[in-house]
Symmetry: D2
Subunit: 136 residues, 4 copies
């Protein structure tokens, strides 16, 4: 059986979108992870702030990594996000996952995203479905 690190590194290596976003893995544990990202010009929307898809994508990668780290392949089935503060170009965002519930079939995670001043910029909640397939 693969370790959480081995699984996430394998996922990250093939994850073109997370790479384009510049996502960095800060920490990996069984059932949790910490990811970071620095906001680039290409991620801004028409209001000159980061497009909502930036924080969502960071959180969605964190959800996938945290859930799959248990060793079974997992897919997201329902996610929600509230954008609570503006994100500007150059901001360094960090996503912290918390496993709220886990059964053999489903997992529920909350993810908080903060900026370099430790201000919360987004609150995310995600539910995943675990399959029977092992990572190997």
């Amino acid at each position: 059986m693969l370790s959480p690190d081995q699984i996430i590194n394998q996922m990250m290596e093939k994850d073109s979108f997370s790479k384009w976003l510049g996502i960095k893995i800060e920490d990996i544990q069984k059932g949790s992870c910490i990811l970071s990202l620095t906001v680039k010009k290409e991620m801004l929307n028409g209001f000159d702030i980061a497009h909502g898809g930036t924080c969502y994508s960071l959180a969605d990668s964190a959800l996938a990594f945290a859930a799959n780290s248990h060793g079974k392949k997992a897919v997201s089935i329902e996610t929600s996000i509230s954008h609570t503060n503006k994100v500007l170009c150059g901001d360094k965002l960090t996503a912290y996952t918390k496993e709220l519930n886990k059964t053999s079939k489903i997992g529920l995670y909350s993810i908080e995203i903060t900026n370099q001043e430790n201000l919360t910029v987004a609150q995310f909640k995600g539910t995943v479905l675990f399959s029977d397939k092992n990572w190997n």
Copy 2:
């Protein structure tokens, strides 16, 4: 006062992320829009399917365009998305917005994303807050 077309074109022109995603405006009406996007390699995740952030970003742009088309500047306050079918490289996605509720302060929208075979790949729900500021 600007028309829905003028507002959305102004938003789109400065929206670097929507441009990077290759989002195209198919239709604009007061309170609704249709957007499309063709999935590129850079948008795939480690499972070789589109990262969840792809559909979210398309829907989030559609939410912003539909809400702002009324003429007041609007910001997203809560959004949720369910990914219901796999999205592959090369798929052409289309997002259709529906305004479920609108007051002077808030708006509620559902957005359905389908692929080129008219299969629904994501269901999105978003709430926006309208400000007093006019587009001009």
Copy 3:
């Protein structure tokens, strides 16, 4: 195997809370149902409008009935609701379910609740997990 009607009648017969609410079954089909309820004084909150739990409970019963009507026991795993118009004492509410997605493992439903004037008062979205257990 039991019919949708047989399953829902069996569920309703033992559902004390739906009975206390006065929920009536208007229609049952495989994968969908229509339920109604008349708002009583006991369901009001401190603003003299129906407590949010009234519409949620009606929608949650509709979700359970629609999902279980397929013949497998199903449980709710994530639900959301937006209250879009005030509900007053005496209002007759009707909940209409729509199955947005169904696999062997999960189901996604949207439910719209309208009042006697056909005004939408709430929009609900729910995800269920199907078990392997048959209704019998």
Copy 4:
């Protein structure tokens, strides 16, 4: 201006549904509250567990009390709940609110519901809209 206690007592006094549910106020602070409820037979569904509407209603009351305690009248605009463990007849539930974000216009709250064994049975997230009207 009224104190948080005065506002919540005034809300609770007229809240027929919270009274029917047997909701008790355990603690009130500016922006937060703790509520409890003991599950009665009338709150069970056809699976002999508490109807999802029970936890939702408890959380929705907690959301309303926490938000209104600031002194401005607030209404719920979007809420979601995940039911993570079964709730049985006789269980004593406690709801703890946490204010995740607050501006002059909107507030975001997470609410955790635990049972008498300190097991989490539901995770709730709610967004409210603050009006300009003061409690008095």
